[in-house]
């Protein structure tokens, strides 16, 4: 140590020691490794949390590592992946197969043969889908025994069987099967990768499913469907998954494989179920309920259909028998009916017919064109309506006779008669009870003019005023006579001459005659038909007290009598 160093050590003694130790740590790889190992986990954690940088940088080297170890130890990876890959691959295959199976089902289902129908019925009775039933019918099998055998030494790990099929020494069977397996492989498989997977002997089939450490051998009665192999594989995989390491190192100690029997028993249950399904399964309650509900619904619909058909028939009957309807069609749309055809406006309304048929009129829509029915009641009704009967008269139908009563004008009567003759020629027209309005009016006029007196001053000389009155009266009578003649009535004009009765009878009679003649003269002058005039005299009783001037007169009376 020189002076300078001594000085250094005096000045920076402590620092130099620290420096030296740091230098030593940095230069010695072992210490560096320890240091890095200390912080590495935390560093990785933090870096990962901060972002994707670490993952990105590790991807290539880690990928390379995995790739290389795959190459170096493929078997290890295969064994490790076996429990994972099996289910994944099988799932995909199962889906494909299922679609395929469905296709087959459809094909089978579409085929209609005598046997197909029989099976269809049986499947329905057993409550099994038809396709499934066909499979059961064609593939009946039962797994009698299952052996789980160590691949390494052929030792039996577990053996399950149905009670009936006890066999003597399953250990020997297991070993023998392994020996046969080895023999077959060594003898017939050039590269020794082949495996004995099935063997047939009489009613039995032997199936072997191979796993990395164990194989599952099943003795099956009958012909199992291919899908059973998938189920067996799944069971074997599950066993591998659960007992992986124990299986690999299995050397005959069954205690190391506790519980594997239950796993293996699944093999037997798997197909026991299938066997039962073939015969004993009853349709589930839900299916029965569903079937009943379906039947009830169908019955309801059938009943409703029947009911609706009945309603339709009744409606049609009603329409056909109703006057004034011509039905072209009655369509049913759900619960509604629509009627099309012809309807006389005089016919009863459609709603009335619907009600008679027991159907709510709201459920009926109609497309009816109007027409005139020639049915008797409509002809009659229409004819009567066309008569425009005046309020003073009335028409009644009595059998085939149309009876008129009351009063009406001749003009109306003539028109009514001709209308009736055209519209209802088969009816008789009885107007005997009908009074013509003209005749009534004439009678009125006649009764009003029934009696009129015309006075004389003396002798046969009219009073001045009565001359003119008689002239007027005569004109009125002439008018009435004209009307009576036109109406076919007989009019009598009775002219009676009177005296006051004073004086001699004979004188008075002559005087009365002269007075009548004077009056008739006047009437004739007015143009009256002389044949209508009936003259007579009334001289009054002789000897009555006083001479009454009011008896110096003639009176003119009218009498109307109907056509005989």
């Amino acid at each position: 140590m020189n002076d300078l160093d001594e000085l250094k050590s005096l000045l920076f003694g402590a620092e130099k020691q620290v420096l030296d130790s740091i230098q030593e740590r940095v230069q010695k790889p072992e210490t560096r490794v320890v240091d890095v190992a200390d912080v590495l986990p935390e560093a990785v954690r933090m870096s990962h949390r901060q972002g994707k940088e670490l993952v990105r940088n590790l991807r290539d080297p880690v990928g390379q590592c995995i790739k290389e170890s795959f190459h170096a130890e493929p078997q290890e990876y295969a064994d490790a992946l076996y429990p994972v890959m099996g289910p994944a691959i099988r799932k995909s295959i199962t889906q494909t197969l299922r679609a395929f199976a469905q296709q087959i089902n459809q094909t089978v289902e579409q085929s209609v043969s005598a046997r197909g129908l029989k099976w269809r019925f049986e499947a329905w009775r057993a409550g099994v889908p038809f396709g499934e039933y066909v499979v059961q019918k064609t593939l009946l099998y039962r797994i009698e025994q299952a052996y789980l055998i160590s691949r390494e030494n052929g030792l039996l790990i577990e053996h399950v069987h149905h009670d009936a099929s006890r066999i003597k020494d399953s250990d020997a069977v297991s070993a023998m099967f392994t020996a046969i397996q080895d023999f077959v492989k060594e003898s017939f498989s050039p590269d020794r990768t082949g495996r004995l997977e099935t063997a047939d002997m009489g009613d039995f089939t032997l199936w072997a499913v191979h796993g990395p450490h164990a194989l599952l051998v099943c003795v099956i009665r009958g012909v199992p469907p291919r899908s059973v192999r998938t189920d067996l594989s799944a069971i074997l995989e599950r066993i591998h998954f659960r007992y992986g390491e124990s299986l690999r190192v299995y050397s005959g100690d069954q205690a190391s494989m506790g519980g594997v029997e239950d796993e293996l028993r699944d093999c037997l249950e798997l197909e026991e179920l299938q066997v039962e399904e073939a015969g004993q399964r009853r349709p589930p309650v839900a299916l029965i309920v569903l079937a009943l509900a379906l039947a009830a619904t169908l019955a309801y619909f059938a009943w409703q259909r029947y009911e609706l058909a009945g309603e339709r028939a009744r409606l049609l009957d009603g329409l056909n028998s109703a006057p004034g309807y011509f039905v072209a069609g009655v369509e049913r749309d759900g619960r509604r009916f629509s009627v099309s055809g012809l309807r006389d406006p005089l016919a009863p309304p459609l709603s009335e017919i619907a009600l008679t048929a027991g159907i709510d009129p709201a459920r009926i829509s109609a497309d009816m064109r109007p027409f005139q029915s020639l049915e008797e009641q409509f002809r009659l009704q229409r004819a009567v309506e066309s008569l425009a009967v005046p309020s003073t008269a009335s028409v009644t139908v009595d059998g085939k006779v149309l009876r008129l009563s009351g009063t009406a004008t001749r003009e109306w009567l003539d028109r009514a008669r001709s209308l009736t003759a055209v519209a209802i020629p088969d009816y008789e027209f009885d107007d005997s009870a009908l009074q013509l309005a003209e005749i009534a009016a004439l009678h009125d006029d006649v009764s009003r003019l029934a009696s009129a007196d015309f006075y004389f001053v003396e002798d046969a000389r009219f009073r001045e005023s009565d001359v003119q009155r008689l002239t007027n009266h005569a004109a009125t009578i002439r008018d009435i006579a004209d009307r009576a003649r036109r109406l076919g009535l007989a009019l009598e004009i009775i002219v009676t001459g009177h005296t006051d009765g004073l004086g001699a009878q004979e004188f008075n009679e002559r005087l009365a005659q002269r007075r009548v003649d004077a009056a008739v003269q006047q009437l004739l002058r007015a143009g009256l038909d002389p044949q209508l005039i009936k003259p007579s005299i009334d001289v009054g009783a002789a000897g009555t007290a006083g001479a009454l001037p009011t008896r110096r007169k003639v009176d003119v009376n009218l009498a109307l009598s109907g056509p005989d």
Partner: protein, 175 residues
Amino acid sequence: MNQVNSKVCVVGDFAVGKTSTVERFVNNHFSDKYLTTIGVKVDTAEVDLTQDLKLKLILWDIAGTTEFKHVEMAYLRGMSGYILVADGTRLTTISAARELKTQIEATHGELPFVFLLNKSDLQHAWEVSDRQREKLVNEFSSELFVTSAKTGDHVAGAIARLAELIAERELFGPQ
């Protein structure tokens, strides 16, 4: 009671008495007829080791051979131990057994085994001299058994010994 299953292979040259030995041990029966084994014949036998441990031996009686081919190698896979059988009336079968043992050890490592020098009842035809026998004792020590499938001599003892070896190895692992 605990039961452990173990696979045991019976190997050796043709007609040394492998099948006869297994038949004697399993069914306590012997036949003079020679029916050569083809491939493999499997039998099982239980050996009580302790009061609560039983070993079930799955005995693979493999067709006689002087050298394992692929098929036989496959048969050996996963065995816990093996029985070497030689015929005391034919010296060549002893060297064949040695060959087979070497082959097994090359592929499976050291495994429990017993060496059976069979047909001890056939004294007139016995070819193994005392010197040769001494050599075999040195070579296989307590694993060597001179047996007779015909009379049943030492058969059960030999197999019981193998069961013990296997159990030891199972419990304590390979030494």
